[in-house]
């Protein structure tokens, strides 16, 4: 392995409104190494990739150097010209175009070509596929290929650019074990030819199998870069977790009778054999990596996904929910993750947003809204959830993320639900507001509501939840009572599959 420096990042930061996604990252990538990038959800991996790919512009002050020379990318094309190629997790291919074009089109753009020479493109694509030892019909429509082959097409595209750095974002998430092995053989070949590879994966066994060095990110900060030999899985996990944010200490609370029982819930391509019980007054944490099937389980309880088999019992009675309307009538509320798009009427006032779900009860017999009732109603919820500032006529857009979240909670609480499902309730809001939401959830649970909280933020899960369910690849990997749970144990289960460790295949 060559030891020469190839690409350096100096004090690379990226700030989004309200969130520091990357905080002064300093790292280097050497020529001809496989460099793994690991970290929890939201640690900053995607942001880092996007900056290297020219899809995001870093905050001023940071620098990227290639061969010691500073570079900056304002457009993905500029990164490609510096021979940095990315295969995105979503592959970023064109389903409606042929394999030939998917492999060669960005190269044509980079060359500044105006015309298409199909014969030349075919031979370029053929060469790239040959390097990967791959036999795909070049005229096939991309959408007719398996995901594994689509992945390889994305890599072939990088080869056509003579990439010096190939960034692979979760390349194995949809591959079988055999296909993963084939991909690793390709990576080894490319590495032997001097290409550097930045490999992003949640699957630590793969990280250890393929990489020379491992960089750990946490909360947008560079925890460290280590030789593979310096680490083992346990050590790596302990580096990934341990976020510094501290919330109000968990206090043990008493829970009541079983409220919601889920038995052997199964939906092909979403989740399998999900069983758990939620008690009255209990906050059940549902955690795991993004894409583990948490949201899908929640949507099944809420009637948005119809499971293939399994039962859901509410207070001992089996429920057959086939629509969200039925779920709401049964007393189940679900607050989705994307607050701005799914939960709020932007451009409307706080009062409008608070009252929209219960307008029927605020109208007289002719269906005309009674202003006096509306005022009382809105005032009551502003006070009950202490929404700040308490101005009913202010546009909802102008409230902070935490108070917007409260407005959504109020909307759903107005239905007096017995089961409340919240999906990443504190995503993208500041720490103080997070604590307020946590306190609110605790109070709701104390009133007897059963709460399922989906969250990737382990300190939050540990601070709020009475019991924690960890999902991995569509199944329940582990269940911990609060007293038993630590960040390390949860992460272990989320990544490796807990005690009853399943084979990665």
């Amino acid at each position: 392995m060559a030891e020469e420096r190839f690409l350096q990042m100096e004090d690379l930061s990226k700030t989004y409104p309200g969130v520091k996604a990357l905080d002064k990252i300093n790292m280097e990538i050497r020529a001809g190494e496989v460099h793994a990038l690991v970290g929890e959800n939201g640690a900053g991996k995607s942001t880092l990739i996007k900056i290297l790919a020219g899809a995001e512009i870093p905050d001023p002050g940071g620098r990227i150097l290639i061969d010691g020379e500073p570079v900056s990318f304002a457009h993905p094309l500029e990164a490609l010209r510096r021979r940095i190629a990315v295969t995105y997790q979503d592959l970023s291919l064109f389903p409606n175009l042929s394999v030939v074009e998917n492999i060669t089109i960005s190269r044509k753009i980079e060359e500044g070509a105006r015309h298409i020479d199909w014969r030349e493109m075919r031979s370029t694509a053929q060469d790239a596929l040959a390097k990967l030892d791959l036999d795909i019909d070049l005229t096939t429509r991309l959408s007719d290929l398996s995901l594994a082959n689509q992945q390889l097409v994305a890599i072939a595209r990088a080869l056509v650019h003579d990439a010096r750095l190939l960034i692979l974002d979760e390349p194995t998430s949809s591959l079988s074990a055999e296909e993963v092995n084939a991909l690793f053989r390709v990576i080894s070949t490319l590495k032997a030819q001097g290409m550097s590879i930045l490999f992003i994966s949640h699957k630590l066994d793969e990280v250890f199998a393929i990489s020379d060095r491992i960089t750990v990110l946490r909360d947008g900060q560079h925890v460290g870069t280590y030789l593979r030999e310096e680490l083992d899985e346990e050590k790596l996990i302990s580096l990934m977790v341990g976020r510094k944010i501290r919330f109000m200490q968990y206090e043990k609370r008493s829970v009541g009778k079983p409220l919601l029982e889920v038995k052997h819930l199964h939906k092909k391509g979403n989740f399998a054999d999900i069983s758990f019980t939620l008690h009255q007054g209990e906050i059940l944490g549902l955690t795991g990596l993004v894409g583990a099937g948490r949201t899908e389980v929640a949507q099944a309880i809420f009637g948005r996904i119809i499971p293939d088999s399994g039962q859901i019992y509410l207070r001992g009675k089996e429920m057959k929910i086939t629509s969200t309307t039925q779920a709401v009538q049964a007393g189940i509320a679900y607050i989705p993750e994307s607050r701005q798009t799914q939960g709020l009427f932007l451009g409307k006032t706080l009062a409008d947003n608070l009252s929209v779900t219960r307008l029927d009860s605020l109208a007289n017999q002719f269906g005309i809204i009674r202003i006096d009732l509306l005022k009382d109603y809105v005032g009551k919820w502003i006070q009950r959830l202490s929404i700040r500032p308490p101005y009913p006529k202010m546009l909802i857009d102008q409230f902070s993320g935490g108070n917007q979240q409260k407005a959504i909670l109020a909307k759903w609480l107005a239905y007096e639900p017995t089961v409340l499902i919240v999906d990443e309730p504190t995503n993208g809001i500041d720490v103080g507001a997070k604590s307020e939401i946590h306190q609110l959830l605790r109070e709701l649970a104390d009133q007897g509501i059963g709460i399922i909280m989906i969250s990737s933020e382990l300190p939050e899960v540990l601070a709020v939840c009475d019991r924690i369910l960890v999902m991995r690849r569509g199944r329940v990997a582990a269940e911990f009572p609060k007293d038993d749970a630590t960040q390390e144990k949860i992460m272990n289960a989320a990544i490796l599959g807990g005690d009853a460790r399943q084979d990665v295949s």
């Binding site: 790919a53 899809a55 457009h75 993905p76 094309l77 490609l80 990315v86 995105y88 979503d90 592959l91 970023s92 291919l93 064109f94 389903p95 409606n96 175009l97 074009e101 089109i105 960005s106 044509k108 753009i109 980079e110 070509a113 105006r114 015309h115 298409i116 199909w118 959408s143 398996s146 995901l147 594994a148 998430s173 949809s174 591959l175 079988s176 055999e178 296909e179 092909k268 391509g269 979403n270 989740f271 399998a272 894409g291 583990a292 099937g293 899908e296 991995r472 690849r473 569509g474 199944r475 599959g497 399943q502």
Partner: protein
């Protein structure tokens, strides 16, 4: 060959052949060369505009202002010929040029300001229609010079000159779509806009180009239309955009973007023409045409949407441990 048989185009061709057989059985006049040439000539105008519309629809966009734009260009060149004279070349330059400028205005709002195309083109449609009414007072331009009328009567080997312009527009559009990078960019933006930008395409330039290209085709169609009608009626293009959009969609272009071909679009134009002509020859009231065309469009679009949803479903699946992986 196998691919051709499976393609949408083959299905459309089959429908056209069946329709033609049916109509010929009822009225043998249909299958005479003079009737077929007539059908073709009368549909060159929607056909030429459909070539531009095809590009817009491949990117998942739409342009409802083409009727207003075509009418506006006919007025522009009509007034020009009546008042300034000019010659064939200047008429074509003026027609295509003003069409391209009108298209570029749509393109600017869609590409640079990222406003949904339906909103932009509804707006420009209204402005152009209003402006035209103000300018012409709704009156026709009838004294088109003789040299232009003579041009419209030219036949080459028995084929009306108008049909040659449609052939030219089709060949040019096919070449743009198939052999230029910007043409492939049209497909790329329609198939996966995020990936298109990541691959290095300048999405705004592509959009600006294709709305201008549609405007250019509109200008060409306006000249051809005037050469057929020998007069200018500012109201002749009422609901013209429906015909054009219907032709492109019937021709197999996917309204969700990413799919469409020149050959298919030509077939779509033909299908509309055959239905229209056949119903007249068969003495069937023409409102049936609107009903049949509307039903076929809804059916075609529903199939596209359902297919797309199935594809989305497969992409969002989770690799559940223990389940057979869905990729290989």
């Amino acid at each position: 060959m196998k691919q051709l048989l499976r393609s949408k185009e083959a299905g459309i061709l089959l429908i056209i052949v069946l329709l033609s057989l049916l109509i010929t059985l009822k009225n043998p006049v249909f299958l005479t060369s003079s009737n077929l040439l007539d059908i073709l000539k009368n549909n060159t105008v929607p056909g030429i505009v459909a070539m531009g519309m095809l590009l817009v629809i491949i990117t998942g966009g739409i342009d409802v202002s083409v009727g207003a734009m075509t009418a506006a260009v006919t007025v522009i060149i009509g007034k020009y010929m009546v008042h300034a004279g000019g010659n064939l070349l200047t008429v074509f330059l003026l027609g295509c040029g003003s069409g391209a400028i009108l298209g570029a205005i749509n393109g600017f709002f869609v590409a640079k300001l990222d406003i949904p195309p339906i909103v932009v083109t509804l707006g420009t449609m209204s402005i152009i229609n209003g402006g035209m009414l103000y300018y012409t007072g709704g009156s026709w331009i009838t004294n088109i010079p003789k040299w232009f009328i003579d041009f419209g009567r030219i036949k080459l080997l028995g084929i009306p000159v108008q049909i040659l312009f449609l052939v030219g527009a089709a060949v040019l559009t096919h070449w743009v779509l198939r052999y230029t990078l910007i043409g492939r960019g049209v497909f790329a933006v329609g198939g996966n806009p995020i990936a298109a930008v990541r691959a290095g395409f300048h999405k705004d330039k592509i959009l600006l180009f294709l709305y201008s290209y549609l405007g250019f085709m509109v200008g060409l169609a306006a000249v051809v239309h005037t050469s057929i009608m020998r007069q200018v009626d500012p109201n002749a293009f009422f609901s013209f955009e429906m015909t054009v959009i219907a032709a492109v969609v019937l021709g197999g272009a996917n309204v969700l973007g990413g799919e469409g071909s020149v050959f298919g679009t030509i077939l779509g134009v033909m299908m509309l023409a055959v239905i229209q002509n056949g119903l007249i020859l068969a003495w069937i009231p023409t409102y049936w045409q609107q009903i049949v065309v509307g039903a076929i469009i809804l059916l075609a679009v529903s199939l596209d949407v359902m297919q797309n949803r199935r594809r989305q479903d497969q992409l969002t699946r989770i690799d559940v441990a223990g389940e057979a992986p869905f990729g290989g």
